[in-house]
Symmetry: C2
Subunit: 370 residues, 2 copies
C-alpha cells in the first residue's frame, strides 16, 4: 500500500529512477503527509498498522461503548471513478471537491443495497506527484469519507508520467459496506401501490460530463460566466457556470443509513436506486424486477438550473437529457404507501429535499416517465 | 456499478452523448459480456444480485459443505495499480496478462497481513471501449482472481476520451480479505534467531517499469530480441525481452493461505513482506519493528536474467537496482528457526522456489544486505 511505502535516499551515479522521472523522495514526502489525513477518518474499528501492506478494519466490535455485531454479515463492495468531471476541476484549478464526488459515487451505490458504508480506498494516478495538487484532491476524499461516515483505510498514489499529460490525473475509488443478510435490499421487491420518493440532487453530480463539456464548448459557454439560468430560486444567488457544474455530488449515506436503522423490524423501504449514468429511468429500472412498473411524474420536481442551461444552449433533446443526467433527482427510495409521508418527513428532518415523484403499479419492469 | 449498468437506445436528433464520443450501446455491449466472465470466479459465498448497484459477498457462511465462520473478523483491504507496465503491454499488443499483474499486486499485499483474499474489484479507464482490448485486459483480471482464489465481485469500466490517448488505458484494483483478529500478522514481530525465507519472483513483477523502459530506450534494446542474458538456466530457452519483462507477477496467495492454515495454533510465521517498489530492504524493513535487524545474504539466490540485462546494459548501480526492483525475491516469510526447514519444504511442495536468504538479530529495525 503506497500510503505506507518507504524508500531510502539513493547515492547512485549511474542511471537512476530519478533520472527516469520517478523522484522517490518527493513521492515519499507527499505520502508522509497522507497518514495524518487518513487518521482523521478513523474510528475505533480501524486497527493501527504502521508499515502495513494493507488497511485493517474490525467487523465485529465487542467493546462496550461501540458494540457492533452482525448475525450473518454480507459484505457489499463497489468501485467507481468520477469520469471527466476531472477535466473541469483541472481547468478551473478547483481540486478540493472532486474527492467528495469520488466518495459519493461509491457510497451512494453501496447504500442502495441496504449497507452501512464501512471504509473506502482510493487510487490516484498522476504524471508526477505535485504536492499541492495531490493534497487538494485527497482533502476532498477525506471530506467525502467524513460526510459518508466511513474510514479512509488506504489508497494508492501512482506516478505515470508516460500515460498522463501534465496536470491530468485519474481518480478511482472503492467502498466496502456491510448489511445483515435478512436486511439486504436484494431480498425485497417493490409492490403495486408503493410510492417513489425522489431525493434532490445537488446538480449534475458526476455523470454525463463528456456531453456537458461538449455542449459548453460548442455553445461557447464560459465557465466563469454567471448565467441567469443558474440563479438559485431560494437564495437568489447566481454562481458561475464552472462553480455550478463542479458542485460536489450529494452523499446520501447518513440519511439512508439512519432511515434503515429507524425501521429495523418493519419492511418499509422496498427498493432504492442511485441515479447515475442512464438517468432516473435507467437506474430505477434495475431494481424493479419484472412484475411491476414505476410511473414517474417528471413535473413533480424542479430541474436544476445548470441542467436547463445545458439543455437549452446545447439543443439537447429531452429524452437524451433524461438518459444521461439525473435531472434533479439523485436518489430514489421506494416505500410502502402507509409509510410514505413518515419517511418523507424523516428524510426532510435529516436535511434532504424530498419529492413524491411516482408510484408502483403491476407491470413488466418498466419505468414510465410522464 | 458499471458491470450491471443498463441504458436504452436513443432516438435523439439534437446534440447527443454519442456525438460527444460516448456510445452507450457499444459500451453496454462490452459490459454485457463481462457478467459471464465475473461468474467464473464466483463461489457459493457470492450472492446473485442482478441489476444490483454493488457486489454482495457473504462473510459468515453456515451451509454444511462450505461452513466458514470468523470469531472476530478483521477486514483487510488494499488498492494498487500496475504502473507503466501498461505501456509495455500496449506496445507489444499483449494485453491478456496485465490483469494478472493487477490482481497479484493487490492480493500479495493482502496476504502479508495474514488474510485470506475474499474478493477483488477493478477500475479500467479507457479512451473508448474497444471490445477486443477490454476483453483481453479483463480476461487477465479473471485469471488472476482464479489464481488467487478470490471472487471478481464487480468493477468499473470508464470511457474518458479526453484523458487518454488512443490505445492508452489505466488499470487499478482493490482487494478485500479477512483474518481473525488473533491471527493478524500485525500482532506479531520477528524475533532474534528467526530465519528469512525468500520466495522467487517470476521476473520484474510490476514495479520499476519507468526505469526499465528508460534503460531499454537509452541502451537501444529491442523488445523482440532474444538476448543471451534471458536464457533460462533450467530449460535452456530464451524468451524475447518483451516477453520476459511482461511475465505476469507471481501470485503467492494460494501458498501463503495454505501455509497459514497448516499452522493454525503454533506461531510459526512472525512476519511477511511483499517485495514491491523500495525493493527487498525497503519492504522487509516495514515489518521489522525497531528491536531487530534482518541480515540478508544477497548471493543466496540468483538474480533473474532480465534484471541482470537491464542493470548491465543500462549502467544502473547495484544499490539503485536493489531499491527499485525485487532482484529475484518477490515475497519474504520470516519464521521461527525450528520450523524453517519444514516451512521451506511445505512451500516448495506447493510449487514455490524458496531460498534461505537471511536471519534476524537484535538490532534497530534495519535491513543489512551483504
Amino acid at each position: 500500500m503506497a500510503t505506507t511505502a518507504k524508500s531510502k535516499p539513493s547515492g547512485a551515479s549511474g542511471m537512476t529512477y530519478a533520472a527516469a522521472g520517478i523522484d522517490l523522495e518527493r513521492y515519499d514526502g507527499f505520502i508522509d503527509t497522507l497518514g495524518g489525513m487518513l487518521k482523521r477518518t478513523h474510528g475505533p474499528r480501524v486497527i493501527s498498522n504502521p508499515g502495513g501492506f494493507a488497511g485493517l478494519f474490525r467487523l465485529d466490535y465487542n467493546e462496550k461503548l461501540f458494540a457492533r455485531n452482525y448475525r450473518d454479515p454480507v459484505l457489499v463492495a463497489c468501485s467507481d471513478g468520477v469520469g471527466t468531471k476531472i477535466k473541469v476541476a483541472q481547468e478551473l484549478g478547483i481540486l478540493h471537491t472532486i474527492g467528495i464526488d469520488l466518495v459519493a459515487m461509491n457510497v451512494n451505490d453501496c447504500i442502495v443495497e441496504g449497507a452501512e458504508p464501512l471504509f473506502f480506498l482510493d487510487c490516484l494516478s498522476v504524471p508526477q506527484v505535485d504536492q499541492r495538487q495531490c493534497a487538494a484532491i485527497m482533502s476532498g476524499v477525506v471530506e467525502g469519507c467524513r460526510l459518508a461516515g466511513c474510514a479512509l483505510l488506504g489508497g494508492e498514489t501512482a506516478e505515470m508520467g508516460d500515460l498522463f499529460r501534465p496536470g491530468d490525473f485519474d481518480l478511482t475509488g472503492f467502498c466496502v459496506g456491510v448489511v445483515d443478510l435478512h436486511r439486504a435490499m436484494n431480498r425485497r421487491s417493490p409492490e403495486p401501490g408503493d410510492i417513489v420518493l425522489g431525493l434532490a440532487s445537488s446538480g449534475i453530480h458526476s455523470n454525463g460530463f463528456t456531453l456537458a463539456r461538449k455542449v459548453i464548448a460548442d455553445a461557447g459557454l464560459q465557465l466563469g460566466e454567471r448565467y441567469g439560468e443558474l440563479t438559485d430560486p431560494e437564495t437568489g444567488q447566481t454562481p458561475a457556470l464552472g462553480e455550478a457544474i463542479l458542485t460536489p455530488t450529494r452523499i446520501y449515506a447518513e440519511s439512508i443509513v439512519k432511515l434503515g436503522r429507524a425501521y429495523r423490524v418493519k419492511k418499509v423501504v422496498t427498493a432504492m436506486a442511485h441515479i447515475t449514468g442512464g438517468g432516473l429511468a435507467g437506474n430505477l429500472e434495475r431494481v424493479l424486477g419484472d412484475k411491476v412498473d414505476a410511473h414517474i411524474r417528471t413535473s413533480s420536481w424542479p430541474t436544476p438550473g445548470v441542467l436547463r442551461l445545458l439543455q437549452e444552449r446545447g439543443g439537447v433533446e429531452e429524452a437524451e437529457m433524461r438518459r444521461v443526467f439525473n435531472m434533479g433527482i439523485g436518489y430514489c427510495v421506494v416505500v410502502r404507501p402507509t409509510f410514505a409521508e413518515a419517511v418523507k418527513e424523516k428524510l426532510e428532518r435529516m436535511g434532504e429535499r424530498v419529492y413524491t415523484i411516482g408510484k408502483i403499479t403491476k407491470g413488466k419492469g418498466r419505468v414510465v416517465e410522464k
